[in-house]
């Protein structure tokens, strides 16, 4: 069964239809009130109950706000709210524009991951226009986008999340662990060159640590590869519907080769130094397995198309989707539900009940292009109607929306790309094997000897596993880049060097781009009418994960993971409490959005805030 909560089933021909028992308002949504007084009661119940306001959460892309209430005695989190705190209105600006402007404008939705937006927009337009790029254009796009992820993950692992595991952070928040790290040899020191766990932690120190500064330089190398393929990064200058304008030659690919060699060696080091660090945390304190744990619900559109299979059409998206180098799909409770892009699209809904937007009412698309029944909350039906109001936890508190799949909260990122690809076992790559329960990644020799990495589907979905998957994903992206590099040489040798297909902007059309950002699932839904964009909807991975409560009161993934987090931090007085377990959890998702997190650790301040704050709980 694909859907349990949506009223959709599949007929004998595998076509999606409304369930026969669905009648009246088949996609109807109940609207129970949230428990309004919970936080106030909890705060009033004892001095050990602390309201934590982390504002801003630094070392994330954009501005992030997160509000929690913590019981420092039982060491549990009682309340958690994610706040997205910037609204720029890109979807509103795109409405009525010439459709091709979506590529450059949506790229500027995110300067950290602009290339994925430009690519996703091009694919949405290719579907709406009915144009197919030549294979070499797809190869170069794929290669450039693998490089984008190499830069993005290196940045996150060492500049954004890395400092949370640095000697500076560990000595301040868990000094006992820091002391034992001094005594603990690193099992893979022969690969990464850091003899003890403490040396890894020192390398992660901000600005001065050797791993920090090395990563900065690596991000530049990876961006050179992205620039060789896509023109520049951030915000590529060569992506168009139906192809790529970059002047490609054997020289361009040779310049990539020289840089990939360095990245291949770096990938070996990154995977195994994080492996050593993560296993140290588990060994010292098994309770780290519960930090940031949440339901094993994962979603991914997959990415990196087969240059001969992709035709940009919705009718065949299940076929070309399953040939991607990261398999699309949905995991529910640890089990693979589907690998079909059409089903993934059908299950998507976006709710604004607790966001600063008005509910829309029109439903222009009752079904998708294949006749599958679409919810009125589906992105092709959604309208963006901003409505800023005062913040109130029981009503509206964020500029983020609440996307759901089959009405479940979904997580995405390197861990979903690995998990889905491993479980589906459909991957066809000369260097990466999906074994059903894991991945085997063969890194060829560079300056360092060849190395085979093994990543296993974890038993639990938690903070450290998100980080481990990201560290191994650097190797995965390297081998995807190398795969396309070899294809690029081959297509040039065969003289198949065309990179653009002419297109015309149709009077009307509908399209969806399925791609991924470093941090996970990305879709752009475009509707063209009268040769102009009638609607353009962008759903980013951080929309999925930084989401607020939904109409059923279910928390978003950051909120759920923080609520499940035990407080393992060592502190003698409430004033010393830094919230490192919460911060590591939030950052493990690699947030990429404007938000804020507020933290106070003084009981009296809290009581005052809880009773006078405009966003309060009265």
């Amino acid at each position: 069964m694909c859907f349990k909560n949506l009223p959709i089933e599949f007929d004998a021909h595998g076509r999606p239809v409304l369930r026969p028992d669905a009648s009246g308002d088949p996609f109807g949504v109940p609207r129970p009130a949230l428990d309004p007084a919970a936080a106030a009661q909890k705060i009033a119940s004892g001095a050990h109950i602390k309201e934590l306001m982390l504002d801003p959460v630094t070392r994330v892309a954009g501005a992030l706000a997160f509000h929690t209430v913590v019981d420092l005695q039982s060491r549990r989190v009682l309340e958690a709210h994610t706040e997205a705190r910037v609204f720029r209105g890109y979807e509103v600006i795109l409405k009525g524009r010439t459709p091709t402007d979506a590529i450059d404008i949506s790229s500027r939705a995110c300067g950290v991951c602009g290339g994925v937006h430009a690519t996703c927009a091009a694919m949405a337009l290719e579907m709406a226009f009915g144009v197919v790029p030549p294979p070499l254009a797809l190869i170069a796009r794929n290669l450039g986008e693998a490089a984008e992820l190499l830069y993005d993950h290196s940045l996150h692992l060492f500049l954004l999340a890395g400092p949370d595991y640095s000697a500076l952070a560990v000595s301040a928040t868990t000094p006992s662990l820091g002391a034992r790290a001094q005594q603990t040899p690193a099992p893979h020191a022969h690969i990464h060159g850091l003899p003890r766990i403490a040396a890894i932690m020192e390398g992660l120190n901000p600005l001065r640590g050797a791993l920090y500064t090395e990563a900065l330089d690596i991000t530049r190398v990876a961006r050179e590869v992205a620039s060789l393929m896509l023109g520049k990064y951030p915000h590529p200058s060569t992506i168009i519907p139906g192809g790529l304008l970059t002047t490609l030659s054997a020289g361009s690919f040779n310049q990539v080769l020289g840089r990939i060699v360095r990245l291949l060696d770096y990938a070996k080091k990154v995977a195994l130094l994080w492996e050593d660090l993560i296993e140290f945390f588990y060994a010292e304190l098994p309770a780290y397995a519960a930090v940031g744990e949440r339901s094993r619900h994962l979603i991914g559109t997959g990415m990196w198309d087969d240059a001969e299979a992709y035709d940009g059409s919705f009718a065949t998206c299940d076929a070309w989707g399953e040939r991607r180098q990261a398999t699309p799909g949905v995991i529910v409770d640890g089990q693979l539900r589907t690998t079909r892009l059409s089903a993934l699209n059908l299950g998507m809904e976006e709710f604004v009940d607790h966001s600063f937007y008005e509910q829309w009412h029109a439903q222009p698309f009752p079904s998708d292009p294949l006749g599958g029944p679409l919810s009125p909350y589906h992105p092709w039906n959604k309208q963006t109607i901003p409505h800023p109001t005062q913040k109130n936890w029981k009503e509206r508190y964020t500029w983020a929306t609440a996307p759901r799949w089959d009405r479940l909260t979904m997580e995405s990122g390197p861990i979903s790309r690995h998990w889905i690809t491993a479980a589906a076992a459909k991957l066809n790559n000369p260097f990466i094997v999906a074994t059903g329960d894991g991945l085997q990644i063969e890194l060829p020799k560079g300056t360092m000897p060849a190395l085979t990495l093994h990543w296993q589907i974890p038993e639990r979905l938690n903070t450290l596993e998100r980080v481990r998957a990201r560290a191994y994903h650097v190797a995965y992206c390297c081998m995807v880049a190398y795969t396309y590099l070899l294809q690029g040489f081959e297509y040039l040798r065969l003289g198949k060097d065309r990179t653009t297909t002419p297109y015309q902007i149709p009077d009307s059309g509908i399209g969806v781009g399925f791609w991924e950002a470093g941090r996970g699932i990305l879709t752009h839904h475009a509707v063209v009418e009268g040769g102009r964009l009638a609607n353009y909807q962008i759903l980013t991975p951080s929309s999925w994960m930084a989401s607020p409560r939904d109409p059923w009161g279910l928390p978003g993934p950051y909120e759920e993971a923080v609520l499940n987090t035990p407080i393992l931090e060592e502190f003698s007085r409430p004033d010393d409490f830094k919230g490192i377990d919460i911060l590591r959890t939030i950052r493990s998702f690699d947030p990429c959005m404007p938000c804020t997190v507020h933290m106070h650790a003084d009981g009296q301040v809290i009581v005052r805030d809880a009773t006078t704050c405009a966003c309060g709980v009265d």
């Binding site: 720029r88 060569t238 310049q255 005062q390």
Partner: protein, 262 residues
């Protein structure tokens, strides 16, 4: 005279962090070298930035408060992203950094408090200089550039107008060079020369004709490339969308001109 240390407060308004990423990509020298004081004539710099600062939360806001109180002089205030017109947000807000009385403190409030304390103010990227994409037609936020927000008469403590580094994103080295020249200016070694648009003259002195609009575009990417001379826009086969210019993107739309049949 070169001060012993200095502070950069980098605020993000309605932006995308792309200028931050461009500056992290700078390489002659890199941002880390600039901050650690490796450039002669430039003191070690503390960078207070939501995407890069080690400390968040109350410790972060405390540094901003100190900067606003004039205690982190000399202060270089940088804005990335446009200034959003919060009067259009009704009871709500478009940007928030910290709370006061349970309501988010907007970026424009922080600008009001920090700009008078700044030795120099830099608007990086086309959003912060001219409004950019958030200010495009149909925008719901009333986005504008920093020069428009602070007013043409604004002068920083060094007597400089808002220094504009346009580009979506600009070349990362432009920021490093602008900061370097700022300290040469402070030390009275080399004056910081700005053009009629308040752009550093040496960075935006080269112009070329934009094919579709027939306007002159000033940008140094065609001569410098993008990353360590790799990549670029029209020079590598791509499109110039005039992203360094006022009235980008509306005046230059369609940003992609369909190719004719071969």
């Amino acid at each position: 005279m070169t001060p012993e240390r200095a502070t950069i407060v980098w605020l993000s308004g309605g932006g995308c962090d792309g200028c931050t990423m461009a500056v992290l990509g700078a390489s002659t020298p890199g941002l880390e070298q600039l901050l650690l004081g490796a450039v002669p004539g430039v003191p070690p710099l503390e960078l207070i930035h939501t995407a890069l600062s080690y400390e968040g939360g109350a410790a972060y806001l405390a540094r901003l408060e100190q900067a606003a109180a004039g205690r982190l002089a000399p202060l270089i205030l940088v804005l990335e992203g446009s200034v959003l017109d919060e009067s259009r947000a009704g009871d709500g807000f478009f940007t928030g950094l910290g709370d006061s009385g349970g309501r988010p403190i907007t970026i424009s409030t922080w600008l009001d408090r920090l700009a008078p304390q700044a030795a120099a103010v830099i608007a990086i990227g086309t959003c912060a200089t001219w409004g950019g994409i958030p200010a495009a037609a149909g925008n719901p936020t009333g986005a504008m550039g920093l020069g428009d927000y602070l007013g043409a008469q604004f002068r920083s403590q060094l007597g400089l107008p808002v220094i504009n580094l346009p580009g979506c994103a600009p070349h990362g080295d432009n920021f490093i060079e602008a900061v370097t020249y700022l300290f040469l200016h402070i030390a009275e070694t080399v004056p910081l020369e700005l053009d009629a648009y308040n752009r550093p003259r040496w960075l935006y002195g080269q112009g070329f004709r934009h094919a579709q609009s027939a306007l002159d575009v000033q940008c140094n990417v065609p001569t410098r490339g993008w990353m360590r001379r790799v990549g670029g826009c029209a020079t590598v086969g791509g499109r110039c969308i005039a992203c360094t210019m006022p009235d980008f993107p509306d005046r230059f739309s369609p940003l992609i001109v369909p190719q004719s049949e071969e």
